[in-house]
């Protein structure tokens, strides 16, 4: 069928924003390929009015496979369901988010349907004449950009880094067809059971989906000093990130770690203080849109990649910055 699919994600009946980011990518590609853009949702029960937003954000058709048992992500079952859909409808292209579920389900599906998958793309384009998807992704810690295509297998599939594109503005005049499909019993894998979810912090750090991240490193000197970073983060609605050194010292937990052995992030704004900018840390932030660094060492590596750098003592700069932002907020009111 002449369709490009994007894989939507949901939690408790709410669509996640990656679903709209993928549609915004998909819309441009689908128009270029002159093909239908479909959003595919595999998950718990969803209301029509919730799904409607997928049309507003670019979808032409929505496929929904919904069942209580699909609410939590289970790799095998989700992979079975998507594989079955691909075999029935034969889309030529599929984009999924490079989230923990996308990065688990898609390589599994790629084996089952015998096709290629390009991980963690930051740019997608269509090759003139062939309609091949040109998939560009960073590799080797962001030191190279590789452009990859899947010329002889179908569908061509890619995962796309969250936050690497913005959702389209809502267009409430758009509409389309919702195709609801029942979960086939034989696709449910009963081996793996989800026992629950644990959050050990009030606000669990989802730094991969954050618009703004405020990060601290060894230069923060001790755990308590992260308090001023949290205050700064508050002004930007940001989440806290950390270098490996800060995590290894127990000043922040591992889910906050940015870099090669932590998370790769693509926020609009990355503010960091007391981080030297080791190659392993930079590997995680190369696709940030703007980087602001505060470091007392004028030769620190981080200034190589910063869009704005302050050479100075963070213990002077951050409290003063917090004060100014606080004042500005009061005046703004």
């Amino acid at each position: 069928m002449n369709q490009l699919w994007t894989i939507a994600e949901q939690k408790n009946g709410k669509l996640k924003s990656v679903s709209f980011e993928l549609l915004s990518r998909g819309r441009k590609l689908a128009d270029k390929m002159n093909t239908q853009l479909c959003s595919v949702l595999i998950g718990g029960p969803m209301k029509d009015e919730t799904l409607q937003e997928l049309f507003y954000r670019g979808a032409d058709v929505i496929y929904v496979v919904e069942d209580e048992r699909l609410e939590d992500f289970v790799a095998e079952t989700h992979s079975n369901v998507l594989t079955d859909l691909i075999e029935s409808y034969k889309p030529h292209t599929i984009l999924a988010a490079a989230t923990t579920s996308g990065r688990t389900m898609m390589p599994h599906v790629a084996i089952k349907v015998n096709t290629g998958l390009t991980a963690d793309c930051t740019e997608l384009a269509i090759e003139e004449g062939t309609n091949h998807l040109l998939q560009t992704r960073p590799a080797i810690g962001g030191n190279i950009m590789a452009t990859i295509k899947t010329p002889d297998h179908s569908p061509q599939m890619a995962t796309v880094r969250p936050k690497s594109s913005r959702p389209l503005p809502e267009d409430t005049s758009r509409n389309g067809e919702i195709i609801r499909l029942a979960l086939k019993e034989e696709l449910v894998d009963t081996r793996v059971k989800v026992l629950g979810i644990r959050k050990d912090e009030e606000e669990f750090a989802n730094i991969e989906e954050a618009d703004v991240i405020v990060s601290g490193g060894k230069g923060m000197k001790k755990e308590e000093n992260f308090g001023m970073l949290r205050e700064l983060a508050h002004h930007f609605d940001a989440v806290i990130g950390a270098s490996r050194d800060a995590v290894d010292r127990g000043w922040a937990t591992y889910p906050h770690q940015v870099g090669l052995s932590g998370k790769t992030v693509s926020p609009k704004l990355y503010i960091c203080a007391g981080i030297s900018g080791s190659i392993q840390h930079l590997a995680g932030i190369k696709t940030a849109e703007y980087i602001v660094a505060i470091n007392s060492d004028p030769d620190a590596n981080i200034f190589q990649v910063a869009d704005f750098g302050i050479v100075g003592d963070l213990f002077e700069v951050i409290p003063a910055l917090n004060k100014k932002l606080e004042m500005a907020k009061k005046e703004g009111r």
Binding site: A110, I140, K149, E208, F236, A306, I310, G312
Partner: protein
């Protein structure tokens, strides 16, 4: 408990070069190490062996020089090592790599658990672990940060996901990919190094594993690298210094102007 751990030998990330024409990495002359993220898989496996007995087989697919990585793993505490090496494997993408490794695992046989790294620091895809699970039809848990409970038949793990830690229960055999939080890798011991030197590493070729030639190497890889670019990393941003001429206040005012200009505040 018998454990299989696929490990990859990777270039030290700080000094890697690429062949621009072929789009492949130039591996000669670059220092290589065990993929740093595979060390957590090795440590996890070794701890399980210490608890339950059994043995650990490490496997690596790569050039003959990857024996070095395998021996390092033996020095840490693994028992056997197998190298998958053949000119026909060259240029494999994650699809062909996971096929080749899964067939080797079938040949080795008799395992309860496979533990892979979260991703390799060169290719950086994290697709090989789930790919192997798909080929072998094994229960899969990715991003595992903790083994909560384990016995000879069953496993309870926590995996790090966007919303927190998801707790999963699954029967063995199963495949896990693990993140840094799961363990603190140990260093090789002197005794281990001695044992590693004495360890024979068998080499599995395509012929020995009875593989489908259509599924191997560059030819068997659905994805093709078209080109490689070297992005400029430096951004040439503004740098302001506090102290001396410029006070902290001025620096902050400039920062706030910058943020306003970019519509970030």
């Amino acid at each position: 408990m018998n454990i299989i751990i696929p490990i990859k030998q990777v270039p030290e990330t700080s000094n890697v070069k690429m062949d621009k024409e072929k789009g492949t990495m130039i591996r000669d002359g670059v220092q290589t190490v065990i993929n740093p993220l595979d060390l957590y898989a090795l440590e996890t496996g070794i701890q399980l062996k210490e608890k339950f007995g059994g043995k650990i087989t490490v496997i690596s697919m790569g050039p003959p020089s990857a024996v070095k990585a395998l021996k390092e793993a033996v020095a840490m505490g693994c028992d056997d090592a197998v190298l998958l090496s053949d000119k026909k494997f060259a240029g494999s993408d994650t699809w062909a790599t996971s096929y080749t490794i899964s067939q080797a695992i079938k040949k080795i046989g008799h395992y309860d658990l496979i533990i892979a790294g979260e991703r390799a620091t060169d290719g950086d895809t994290g697709q090989v672990g789930p790919g192997i699970a798909a080929w072998l039809d094994l229960p899969l848990a990715t991003y595992v940060s903790k083994i909560v409970k384990v016995d000879e038949k069953e496993l309870v793990v926590e995996r790090l996901v966007e919303e927190g830690y998801q707790k999963l229960q699954m029967p063995l055999p199963a495949l896990l990919t693990v993140v840094k939080e799961i363990s603190n890798p140990r260093l090789p011991t002197l005794r281990g190094k001695k044992r590693a030197r004495a360890t024979e590493v068998p080499i599995f070729t395509a012929e020995k594993m009875d593989l489908d030639p259509e599924f191997l190497g560059l030819k068997g890889s659905p994805t093709k690298v078209l080109k490689i670019d070297f992005p400029t990393v430096t951004r040439g941003g503004t740098l302001v210094k506090t102290g001396g001429e410029e006070g902290v206040e001025e620096a902050i005012d400039k920062l706030i102007d910058f943020l306003k200009e970019k519509e970030l505040v």
